[in-house]
Symmetry: C2
Subunit: 346 residues, 2 copies
């Protein structure tokens, strides 16, 4: 717990070591995270996502610098370009992040964890929790917008920026519907480039389309929600006013043009983020998102704990053998699972 005390006292190296322990999935890191938990929950988390080449890293650098004007400690977590398959890392990102390295008030961390029981998403959430607990605020999380990563960032961040650049194929907007759906703020970067106006207009049009009803955050609910019902901060967290962020009162995603390389549009972007934050707070949507996130985190933690029990309690050779029998259809998967449960959880 010495590491936790040092981190809370402001020791950057202790923070870095804690994060490494999370990445390595160390045995007792949960104790340290538990120790830090009461201190977390204060930082505002900004998610930045979008296609490769849209200029996310440069934008994140500019945002971090802008926030440093008023904030003593700003955190940046760059989650590597992980296609669900190849898991490749865009090294360019890391290099660009070095621009920030001179400022001791900015903590930058690139994540490249794999093979973690909880996956990159839960590792990222834990790293954010550490930075949050030791006083970094805001924390900017950058991730490439592909599939699951979008869902993860939407779950983790308070405000999600989706970064687009001109000439990346306006015609394919249908494909992008998914990523637009998570955008609280849409950033058209490289706004000095040819085609920027056309891209902005096309995206603005999409934003004007009426969105499918219901907060997409409801969709992030986990199995536990089957038990507790949908998130109801109004009843469970705060008495009184219903958490009804619907209809006329709903946030309409904002489109902001930037040229991150030159720093243009950054003040507008910071203002839009502040506006979104104010909306979240006023509409109780902030509490609602907290509720969804905690429910998901509990479920993930529970799952990891249960899987760990399996890993500890079962002979690998036995499991391999059981798998082979299921593959050979000598035993059905349900019977195999009953057998595993009987062995580990009876």
């Amino acid at each position: 717990m010495e590491l936790v005390r040092a981190a809370l006292a402001g020791d950057r190296r202790a923070v870095a070591r804690l994060i490494t322990r999370i990445e390595n999935n160390c045995e007792d890191v949960q104790n340290e995270l538990a120790e830090l938990y009461p201190y977390a929950g204060r930082a505002y988390v900004i998610g930045v996502t979008g296609a490769p080449g849209a200029g996310k890293s440069t934008l994140v650098g500019q945002l971090a610098k802008a926030y440093r004007a008023s904030q003593p400690k700003v955190g940046v977590v760059a989650v590597d370009a992980t296609s669900p398959f190849s898991g490749g890392a865009i090294l360019g990102d890391r290099i660009r992040m070095r621009d920030l390295a001179g400022d001791p008030g900015i903590f930058v961390r690139s994540m490249a964890t794999r093979g973690n029981l909880g996956g990159l998403a839960s590792t990222t959430a834990e790293v954010v929790k550490v930075l949050d607990a030791v006083g970094y605020d805001p924390i900017i999380v950058e991730t490439v917008g592909t599939g699951q990563a979008e869902v993860d960032i939407a779950r983790l961040a308070h405000t999600v920026l989706v970064v687009e650049a001109p000439n990346m194929g306006d015609e394919i907007q249908a494909l992008k519907a998914g990523i637009l759906e998570i955008a609280d703020i849409l950033v058209v970067n490289k706004c000095d480039c040819v085609g920027a106006e056309r891209t902005s207009a096309a995206l603005e049009m999409m934003l004007n389309l009426d969105r499918a009803g219901g907060s997409f955050h409801d969709m992030l609910c986990s199995s536990l929600a089957l038990l507790t019902g949908p998130p109801q901060p109004a009843t469970a967290l705060a008495a009184g006013k219903a958490a009804d962020a619907d209809a006329g009162n709903r946030w309409r995603p904002r489109l902001i043009k930037t040229n991150a390389l030159q720093g243009e549009g950054i003040p507008d972007l910071v203002q839009a983020i502040a506006d979104h934050r104010q909306y979240l707070e006023a509409s109780q949507e902030l509490q609602r998102r907290d509720w969804v996130r905690v429910m998901h985190e509990l479920e993930q933690t529970l799952y990891q704990a249960l899987m760990k029990r399996l890993l500890d309690g079962i002979d690998p050779a036995h499991l391999t053998n059981l798998l082979a029998r299921v593959v050979a259809r000598e035993i059905d998967p349900y019977a195999a699972v009953r057998q595993l449960i009987a062995q580990c959880w009876s």
Copy 2:
């Protein structure tokens, strides 16, 4: 078990009822699936994915008809356009599928399940298992290519077709890298349209790029793989020859041009699928994929069983209260999970 017997005897209505029971997540449907399990594992599963508007449904219809020339029973499972968020259904798909409805040798099912404990992916896998057990072969699974759905289809299918159409934004290929990565066969549909040659050339170029090392199927491995190690059908399933589908021997994704509306290119596509199947069998990659899929299925089933125990064993009000305390940071999530485990699995 009467339903199972009727389904095995070829009663289409019994098959439909079994599938409905899966969709509704009925209490004892696992017994029926267990009963069917020994009969499954014979069908070849073809996954068809791609952006909305690429003409997937028409292509699936043509493929189903083509296979019916030689096969007595062909199955089609259309998984609804489920963005991870809005979960909307493209009704057009269902309508087009009706073209197939006249042929009693083709079984078509559209899936629109939500709120299932195991999610749409595991429901789809179970439906495929039912069709497989009662003799449908091949089984074509159609899904919109978004995020998690891509991973799911790659896990479920033996051969994955990614369907593209011209003029959907060649410039944005980088974004599509993920979906190309799962393609065993790339289909450029609507090949009569202006721009088809250009799209084909661009995609062909991408296919020629050297792919990141390692079968992406290794990436589909689940937590259980931490225990058993990577899939090793060579040691676990078949003795002798190592399952080394690497290097010079690896499958190079094929590009096929079709005009599904006119039936053009369908014989070429059927041939390409046959070639891929032959490759999978010769390289033992088929066994390897089975291994990965079964491992994942076991893990999912285990998870569902464990969550069911939680749902059965815990008072919802207690869980809601526990969640509220975690949100309020009165208790950390790890302690909360320990408490849940003590209550349900001690």
